[in-house]
Every structure is written in structure tokens, then in C-alpha cells.
Amino acid sequence: MTFLEIHDVHKSYGEHEVLRGVSLEVAKHEVVCLIGASGSGKSTLLRCINALEPIQSGEIRVAGDVVSGLGVDVNRLRRNVGMVFQSYNLFPHMSVLRNVTLAPVRVGGRSRAEAEEQALALLDRVGMKDKAGAYPDALSGGQQQRVAIVRALASDPQVLLLDEITAALDPELVGDVLAIVRELAQDGLTMLLATHEMGFARDVASQVCFLHEGRILERGTPAQIFEDPQEDRTRQFLARVLASGRL
């Protein structure tokens, strides 16, 4: 059953067209990896799904409900669609625990005690329980990103959007963060991730999409994309990634 439907989405910043007709269906429990060069539209697509960016034409549906265009309750949509950013974007003036409980308490209407209990359980899962009282600036990048994932999970989203979440991390910290994502995938969380970690994409993705100049140029299972790409552009891109030693 299709859970997330993206149909012919166009998005431009002024004259510059970033998405030129993207269509994609994601079923529940699926993990979709978006790959492609910088500027190919991966991040923009994720931001459009979350309604952080308005789209010019096309349609986005989550669980059968249209979530693009006017009149959509974006705050309600975002409770179902979590997002994790490349630069973590934790709130520096709040402790880890407050970062995680902010949305459940303010938006989800839970009691603080209940939210904190749930937050501590989630933090424990990613090995960050003992840092609950710490402030983001006192944490390493990997720790901050783990907290950011927990913050997104605390609202019980039905789909999680991950925007190059390891791109800003030191190489030795990438593994910890990816391990968490892998675990979430095994638990059956629906995820859409823009990533440069090709090895990881090959492991966890059920579907890989290669974006080029605002279009999904090629899409298929990891085996199809990584072992037998049909498009020249895909082959060139993968060859460049291979040359840089990241596959």
C-alpha cells in the first residue's frame, strides 16, 4: 500500500528550477534512499514533503491525504512527518531532554512527566541517556545528531525524512549514527533519506533513486542501481563516488 505519494512536483526558487517533475511512491515500512550530486534536488525534495518549502505544482499525499498547497494543517502534517537535518539544528538554549520533550509537550499535549519518561527511554536506546541534562554545544557532532534523531522520533512520526545526516560528521562518528538508522529500518519505520553513504544505502534501502538536475533519472532496488545502472549519468556519478573511495 502506498503511504507517501509524490506526483509531478515542481519547485523553483525564483528563476531557478530545483525540482522539475519528481514522482515517487513510498510504501509503509519502506526505506528509500535519494542519491545524486549536490544541487540535484535531494534536500529540496525532503523539505517539500515536510512543507518547509511550498511547491509550485504537483501533489504530495501522505497516508492518502493531500499535504501540499493551501489550507493544509502543516503543523499536523509535521507531527506525522519527522525530519533530521545535516547540521543537527538542536536548540542550543535547551538541555538535551528539553530538546526532545519540546514537541511532545507543546504540540502533542502530553504531560511533562510522560514525555520525559518516553524521551529518556529513546535516549537510552541511542546511548545518550546520561547526557539528558547536557546542552548541545557540549556534545560532539555524532552525539548531537543522535539527539536530533531522538527529537524527531519523540513525536511518533509515521515517516522520517533524513537530510544527509552524516555529511557534517567526522568519519569515525558516522558509524554510530548510521547504526541507529539501520535499527530504525529493521523496526519497520518508513524513511526517506538523502545520503552520500552509498554502502549504507546499498545495505538498508528497499528503493534507491538517483536524482539529476531536479528529476529522478533512475530508480530501482539497490542491486539494480549499484550493480546494473541503466543511465549514463548514474554510471558517471557512481564512478566518481567510487573514485573518491566512498562506496
Binding site: 503543523n75 537535518f85 539544528n89 536548540f91 504540540v107 547536557a134 554545544d137 557540549a138 556534545l139 513525536s155
Partner: protein, 362 residues
Amino acid sequence: MTSGAQTEEVAARPTPPQRVLPTAVVALLVAVLCALAAGLALWSLHRMLEPPAGVDALLVALALVALLPLVPAVRAFGDDRRRARHLAAGRLAPARHEAASGREHAHTAMGYALAVLVCAGLVWFTTANDGAITTTFLRWEFLRSSFANVLDAFWINVEVAVGAQLLVLVVGLVVAVMRLLPGRAGRPLRWLAIAYVDTFRAIPSIITLYLVGFGLKLAQVPFFKDLSPVWLAIIALTLTYSSYVAEVYRAGIESIHPSQWAASRSLGLSYGMTLRTVIVPQAVRRIVPPLLNDFIGLQKDTALIGVMGVTDAFAQSRLTASNVFNLTPVIVVAVLFVLITIPQARYVDRLLAKEQIRTGRS
């Protein structure tokens, strides 16, 4: 090949030290001249005060302090002698070391000597014209007699300042948020906010005080006509300073990275909630230093409320000053303003330091 040989040659023969003697001579001359100037100034102070023995001893001590820059100046000569000795024995590196130390001593001597000269100038200024300046500004008996009066009146300044500051914190934020309202719906309010800031930031606060203080009463404006002058002063200063502080708030809010908005909105928080819980709390932490600036400005402007007929510390001091034909009471007010400002500055420093430690920011 040739370049390699050159490098070797340079490495084998370090550059010889520069001479120190000219600098040392200049330093000694400057130190002596400044000490002489200080001596003259202190002598003139002694003649003016005709002080008892205790104060005289203090003056002698000050004269000795004025001689202190001579110490490094003399040391510079010693360094120069050692430099010459090392150089004669072919020990270039120790010679360079002594030369550097000598120059440092000479520069220190000149720095301190010039500071002595500035202080001597100030002392001379206060004793000029047979101490007329001191007797005009600083007479102990007037200081004592006016202090209680002026201090009493100063509470009105404090009252007005604190009242206006509390209101400014709120009004300034409201105006800043109005100015940042998004979309077509927010446009008229944005314009109003801009118009308000443009107007009241431009009007001199003394004029606003005058107009509010007399105008509202004259026009018999309901509610406002019954307010006490102190409240009218608070309102006038709030009008002026909210326009400054609104701009400070706006700068603070706009300085928060858009990714914080994105993160908060992506969690499902609304625009208003994001502003309240994520953006403004961070902005406020950043704007504390410029906010203190505006608050000190506001405190100082409470000295203007005399124009609306309130007897504040400055008005009171002028009254006393014209009675005794001496400006000492006015100095008392000036000192009081300084005294209340310093603790605030230190408090803000401590606040920021604590915040940095708490959030782990370096």
C-alpha cells in the same frame, strides 16, 4: 645550488642585534621630563591646599610614584652594556636577547612616563587659577551638605528608570515582533511598527518628555491627565527607548539562523510557538550587551525629566548649586549615575560568563 649556499650562510650567521642606546636615551629623557612635570603639578597642589602633614606625606608618596618610570629606563642602559659585551665576544643570540630586553624596558619607561604626564596634567588643571576649578567643582562642605538632598531626589531617577526599563522590555519586543510579522496580513502592522520606530527614534527624548509631560495634561486627555508626573516621565521615556530596543530585539531575532526555524517548524510547532520557545529565548541571550547600552542611555536621560517639572536629582542639585554658587552638588549627581551603572555592567558580564559555562559554549 647558489640559493642553497646562501641559506646556509644566513643560518650560520644570525642577524646582529640592533642598537639600544638611542631608545634608552630617549626613554630616560622622557622619564625625567615627565617626573619634573609631575613634581611641578604636585607642588602647585601643595601650595593650593596648604595641607596638614598627613596629606603632605601623601603628596611626597605621589612624587615618588612619578619617579618610578626611571627604573626601567636605567635598566635599559644595563641591558645595552651586556648586549655590547656579548657582541664583542661573538655571542650573537644572547646579545640579541639583551637588546630585545633593553628595548622592552625603554618602551615600558616611556609608556609609564607618559601616563604620569597625563596625570600631572590633570592635577595641574585642577590647581590652575589658584585652584578655582577645584573650588568650583569639589568643595567638601557643599558635598556634605548637598548629599542627602540630592540622594533623596535621585530615587525619583531610579524609579523612573526602572519603571521605563520594565515597560521598554515588553513594548520593544511587541514592536519588534510586529515588524517581523510575515505575509500580506502582517503588512499594515509592519508599516505601523516601522513608522513608530522611525518617529520616536528621531525625536530627541527631551522633546518627547516635554510634550508628554505638558501636552497630555493640557489637552485633558482622559486617564493620562490624572497621572503623576513620574508616570508621565516613565511613559515618555518608554516611547523613546522602546524604539531603540525594538531594533535591538529585531537584530537579535534576525541573527538566529533560519535552520532553527526549520527545526522547530518541522517538529510541528506553530509560528508563534517557535518564536516564543525557540527564537526569542536565544535572541534575548544575544542582545543582553546592546540592551544594557540602551538601558544605561535611558538611565542617563532620566536627568532630563526636570523639563516636565519633576524635581529629580539633577534639578535638585542645580537648585542647591545656585543657592551655594558652587557646582559640587552637580558633581554628586554625576558620581551617583556612575555608581549605579558600574554594578550593572559587571552583573551583565557575570551573567554572560555563567551562561557560557552552563551551555558548554567556548
